[in-house]
Symmetry: C2
């Protein structure tokens, strides 16, 4: 069956959105829709225009016989600002205050719309970085790590506090938690990370950065390299930051338990580029 342009545009949009950063050849589309490559090229030009105009992302065209097209997720500045402001508003809600000045963020990390937008923003920050895999630590960072991974189209590996029989052999390291100064253990399945892999570390919350630093040290054990660090929320409180090059969406400035006030501002998302 022949495809009309309108059908092609809808199906190609879906196809590309499902495969960020994957090179799709013109030949593939041309065969899928039984249409001339020149028509496919015209379709892609319209999709590219619309994606850019609407802040969906960009289409990168690679010319030549082995060429094709790639969807690169990007968030435009206006949408990013709006969403980060919304996050600030949500996180500053005094109902989040827990005994000890901790913040309850579980609802945000479980909300698929929020998680997906956080993932798209973090992925946008690293859209032009060469990344093979995303690393996070169980449990709370997993949702945003996976959302970021979906937009970068790379796998996720999860560092754990203890080893499980279903992980096979593991590598474990001890590290010093930045804020509590306690010695803790982290464990990663041996076969989950390849030698030489370029790793983006993603986590929900960073205070002094001890846990993130632990993950960076773990990379050495695997001869893997650090490609970047991205967190949803960083805390200003930290006396001494163990990590300095990272992207954060929101920054926690102050938690006043007595007055029940949480002060948050935009993170370094816009300034770190």
């Amino acid at each position: 069956m022949k495809f009309r342009r309108s059908e092609r545009l809808i199906d190609m949009t879906h196809y590309l959105l499902e495969r960020p950063k994957e090179l799709v050849s013109l030949t593939f589309f041309s065969e899928k829709y039984e249409s001339a490559k020149s028509s496919i090229s015209e379709d892609l030009a319209i999709i590219k225009d619309t994606f850019e105009k609407q802040g969906i992302g960009s289409l990168q065209t690679i010319p030549g016989a082995s060429g094709g097209v790639k969807y690169i997720p990007r968030t435009n500045k206006e949408d990013a600002k709006k969403f980060i402001n919304e996050l600030c508003r949500l996180i500053a809600d005094s109902d989040r205050l827990l005994p000890g000045g901790y913040l309850y963020l579980t609802d945000l990390l479980g909300n698929p719309q929020i998680v997906s937008k956080v993932g798209k923003l973090l992925a946008s920050s690293f859209a032009d970085t060469d990344i093979d895999v995303i690393m996070t630590v169980a449990t709370k960072g997993i949702s945003i790590a996976h959302a970021t991974a979906a937009y970068l189209n790379v796998p996720v590996v999860i560092v754990r506090r203890d080893s499980k029989v279903t992980e096979g052999s593991t590598v474990s390291i001890n590290y010093v938690s930045g804020s509590s100064k306690r010695i803790q253990t982290m464990v990663l399945s041996k076969r989950s990370l390849n030698e030489g892999a370029k790793v983006l570390i993603v986590d929900d919350f960073m205070k002094a950065g001890g846990t993130v630093k632990g993950m960076v040290n773990l990379l050495d054990e695997f001869n893997a390299s650090l490609a970047g660090i991205a967190v949803l929320l960083e805390s200003e409180e930290a006396e001494e930051r163990l990590v300095d090059d990272y992207v954060s969406l929101v920054k926690l400035m102050d938690v006043d338990v007595k007055e029940k006030k949480i002060k948050v501002i935009e993170g370094n998302y816009f300034t770190n580029k």
Copy 2:
């Protein structure tokens, strides 16, 4: 600025795909694109046709003043068969065998393309069920729970083995693990689940079903109700299944450690409907 039909089709496709099961009014699209409602209706008819023809899902139209359109993710039978066969092939790989006859599945559960397809299949199974929230248990089920949640557009709550200070007050229960018969604890943050919520339980692996049964018991503590159970992999091995109504994609028939053979077949995905 005015939008041409081709641009509208691309942007509407993106907009709808990002918001499964959400009612979007014709007025919203009409204002967004400064186009007559009659044109928007025509656009939606083309999108609906293409979504159905291409196995992307369906568009449900709700007529009337408060009406609009909803994208319902569905996987057609042919695509589902193909993907489940692929899963069987991947899981039957003898390299997955770990000491004790356990299977290494971490790579599959960390692969964004596989995780997303699993999520779409499980969501398709429950596309017409009333679901408020998805529940899973840390850690391995989290990725597919979130992928399913993204397609059903509902939040995820994560049951843990131990309570964390960042979860606030928790409810904990003891349960008997089905296969090891050991008494274990599971914990859920009190404020993460509302009274009366209809809950879909999602997990990566079910043997006797002790963990899933534990989650079902936990629902009682919250006066929540069970809307369904969905697992990626079930095991035939179980002497006595503690749970009987569930959907599985793949069924593990036998693990022969000596011969290094794993036997898997299609789960009850097609027969359970």
